[in-house]
Assembly symmetry: D2
Homo-oligomer: 334 residues x 4
């Protein structure tokens, strides 16, 4: 079930390859009668897209959405919604070299083993970040429903790039990495606002379990922490505990939110907060050591083709949308 | 499916409450003909158990294992293995107070909402860490098979307690916290050794996805990072990439292991490495602010009963065992 | 997931062996705050039990229910409900012979292959009809909730035994089979009354799909038909179609119910009706031809031990209870 | 998960509507390196297609296959295979009338309730038999692999139409029904040849459970029986039991195959045999009684549009292909 997200109600299945004919997504279990907000979806899709700026890859895809099922007279029908996005700007010849010489820190080598050499290796094939376009379509639909029907908002922002904070400084850092044919990663912080209390499940379907499961499905994510996260390890219980009080609207609240809105796997009514670590883009123009998997010889590789010096900006909307799928699924299962 | 871990082949279901009659676990899909190594399981169970030392709670359970199905003539049959562990040292009267005044940073408040007040609140009921005894039984069985049939070893160790490293210093830190009626957390590092390459799935069943899903099921875990983890965010791609070489036994290896043995969700043949953050035990003897959920008034609480000033030592074997379930499931699905 | 029924909300897992220590069941996802009606459950359990009459086996089990989790102060908590039923009247020596000489029409031979000889072969082990006691416990709980919260009633009756209708005649037929060391089967008809319209799912989760999946899990079931069933094959569309009308209470109804209450996999508000065929008990005292699976020689077998000349009466409550699990799951998922 | 078949390894998801832009299917978990036999798939697709003969509907779709993912250089890659089939011959205006006046014995009325009126009602929308084209594509791929890699053959034939046997007589019966603006159903018998013994699972994943689950997903199926099926109910155990012998090639065999190749949910090495009952096509040109669901008045309906007097011929390849998905999934899980 590798390419199907199996929520309680929502099943989101992605398919396609970076340099195949198309990529796409099917959403099963989406509620009926919801008017699709194409403007909102387009905004999220555009955030994810290569924007031809200096900061990202020069691959140019317009990501036109072809919704071929599940809607009728502008509204969702309750049947599976399938959306196809064609690949237009393919240049698969760029990738012939990686057939036998796997790119360091990419899926190339283990994918070759797993699929016995039959996988589409061009641009990482089915493992390509390009497939997150399908995830963004599905998730933007969920985000939109969360906002309109449940008044829940999801917002992520970039905390740091290459350890540097501040918008201008971060951009400079990326350009500097690009100049030296290198790449950088960063940290994204996400907030789910207006989450009702008492949602979630104990044990194997805790909110942390399901959210982390989803977030680690996004390429290049290597860490996640909820609330105060790894800093909990240096605190006393008396500092870390989120003590309760009744606020002036008779709402139960906590003075602090170290637990990031989740206790025992369930929401406690405070904002859900988590941070995700994105590793530096593995595709860099610098020469690297690799091997020839057929001859078992040591080799050198310079990765050509188009790649981003930093993908953190593009991962940001993917995290928002992926989060929306998980949160909506929890709410639908209530 | 909150209390069932749904692997591809292995389904592990836990049940029971802290102060009910018993807790237990059922393992569905375990291979046939495996001789159960009770000594090994006992060792893992004892590591998790309250050991009456100064470092842990004074609840005293012998955790006797009652395997009531799935074995015949000392070997697994392929049918579900059910193991019941009775609760002997129950003192549920300790918990009457928390019925209406939820303990800060515990599941009490959201569980009360979710279950409309019908949940067994005594000692967190079904949310209690006591249920991890079942997880340890199931996981120790899996660990044992990983070692004997697949030559895979799982090892965890404590990196730090309350930010402090070093065995003696860590113990001192715990006792000091205990003296001040407080608690501390820490960081555990885990290694899966001898993992074959090419195991795992892309996207929604990446090794990181499934492992994090499982690990966040363990109470008090608030963060996980793979390989270099959050430090990736401050590195250049050229530093972070794990470059390949052929070693002298013609084995494909990488110079570094920043990715913690996982690329594109698949194992690459290097050790799987991850770190888990455990928050300080929420149960502390210090007075804390809380509320009365019936009257909606502000209250104070001093948590009585028996609790650990630090549960990191006890979580350690749980993480080993939980990891074993996920890894064995991946291998069985190969 | 062979021993776990995976509904949308309800997961029912059975475990145990005929001549092991115990059998049992765990129900995950059952709603919170429901008072368990032990009298009703006991009635259903007794219907399934061997009753020492001339019509059934002489194995005598009291089937005492040990509910070890998931209830608190007499009500369900929302946590998994585990019920253990110990095996008291074991006589496993009866079964040593079948280790190498499989009983015709039993699971012995394919189970031996599947489990590589490690399965518990005594009395069919995990395949034994005895495990339906767990299914009856779980299902009786669901039946009880369907009645009290949803006003839905499930009723089955025996249409025929060995092709014969009429209570007295059927009993005579069974005794006559018993006298000649033989066995007989029969047909059970089931009704789900007061089922609301618009429940179910299209395609792979049609009511027929899920009900048949469940019903074929019951040992000895070899056929199922909904509504008019196989007789549809001899009708014209104009006869078979269930035409609509508005009844005097403004309720939408159909003149006939050939479709057994299900259209396109969804309930249409008419009673759900299906018939199930139960094969004759394979255990008969007559000499039969079999083989020795070790020596690959032809053999003869006379099955000793205790067995029923007809299990249709005992299957009846199992079908009711199994149906209740599926129907309640559909309603909980609404 | 209504529109996703969830096997152990194979997940087959169908999407689309009868008069929407397209229908399609995604197959997740299909093995790698398999050369797609388009000729074979085309043959199966054509069997299902309306053939413009007197026996079937006049809707004319060429069912061109657009495989947009999961293959590379003519072979399967192990990534999800998505196939889109566009709807060309749409005449949705035919269906405007059924919006408020549901056709008897169709999904129209319960689907309207379930989807709160937002479902695409044109030609039954997502419930349309047209979606079986996707199932046939997926299943033909599986059939082809079963034959080439596992030497397993699946064959179905029509036993009777409207109670009549014999090819010529059956065709005459259909034309006669057509002449009287009526429709007829029939019975299909299916055989899975060369099935190895010891495949399957006990209880909730018995071969009967999974096959019936799948077969009842096919529109118009109202009954299924395995082996001797409902006739078991009139037999003695001594007649019904399949006694064993060693054949001259030292192969374990049974004298009879009343159990249709399945014991205890597992294959026993004999051919798997089952029969399926197909109800008469509900769409008939005769006037029928129905209701107006908005006004709650009694109405009459004459169904226009194109429909088949008998769909049994077209269901035949769907059953073969659906069976192939289930059987391959069992084998892949071995």
């Amino acid at each position: 079930m590798s390419s199907i997200f199996e929520g309680s109600k929502l099943k989101v299945s992605i398919f396609g390859e970076s340099h195949g004919e198309a990529i796409g997504v099917t959403i099963d279990g989406f509620p009926t009668g919801f008017e699709i907000d194409f403007d909102f979806i387009r905004i999220m899709m555009n955030k994810r897209k290569t924007n031809n700026s200096e900061l990202s890859s020069s691959r140019n895809e317009n990501d036109e959405l072809n919704i071929i099922s599940g809607t009728f007279q502008g509204k969702t029908t309750g049947a599976p919604i399938c959306c196809i996005i064609y690949n237009n700007d393919k240049r698969s010849s760029d990738y012939e070299k990686i057939k036998t010489t796997p790119r360091p820190s990419h899926s190339d080598y283990p994918a070759h083993l797993k699929y016995k050499g039959f996988n589409d290796y061009r641009g990482a094939g089915h493992f390509s970040g390009r497939l997150t376009a399908g995830l963004v379509f599905a998730g933007a639909l969920c985000m939109s429903m969360l906002q309109k029907r449940h008044f829940i908002k999801i917002e992520s922002n970039i905390k740091s790039i290459h350890g540097i904070e501040g918008d201008e400084a971060m951009k400079k850092e990326i350009l500097s990495a690009k100049d030296s044919k290198d790449s950088v990663g960063g940290i994204i912080e996400s907030h789910v606002l207006n989450m009702p209390a008492g949602i979630g499940e104990p044990w194997f379907d805790s909110i942390e379990s399901r959210l982390s499961h989803m977030i680690f499905s996004i390429p290049s994510v290597k860490g996640i922490e909820f609330g105060t996260g790894f800093n909990f390890a240096s605190m006393y219980g008396s500092e870390a505990n989120d003590q309760y009080y009744i606020d002036d609207k008779d709402k139960i609240s906590t003075y602090t939110n170290h637990n990031g809105g989740i206790l025992g796997g369930l929401s406690n009514g405070m904002p859900i907060v988590f941070r995700t670590c994105i590793k530096p883009t593995p595709s860099i123009a610098k020469e690297q050591k690799t091997i020839n998997i057929t001859n078992l010889t040591n080799e050198r590789i310079i990765i050509e083709g188009r790649h981003d010096p930093c993908i953190v900006y593009r991962v940001l909307p993917v995290i928002d949308c992926a989060t929306a799928i998980v949160i909506l699924d929890f709410l639908l299962n209530k």
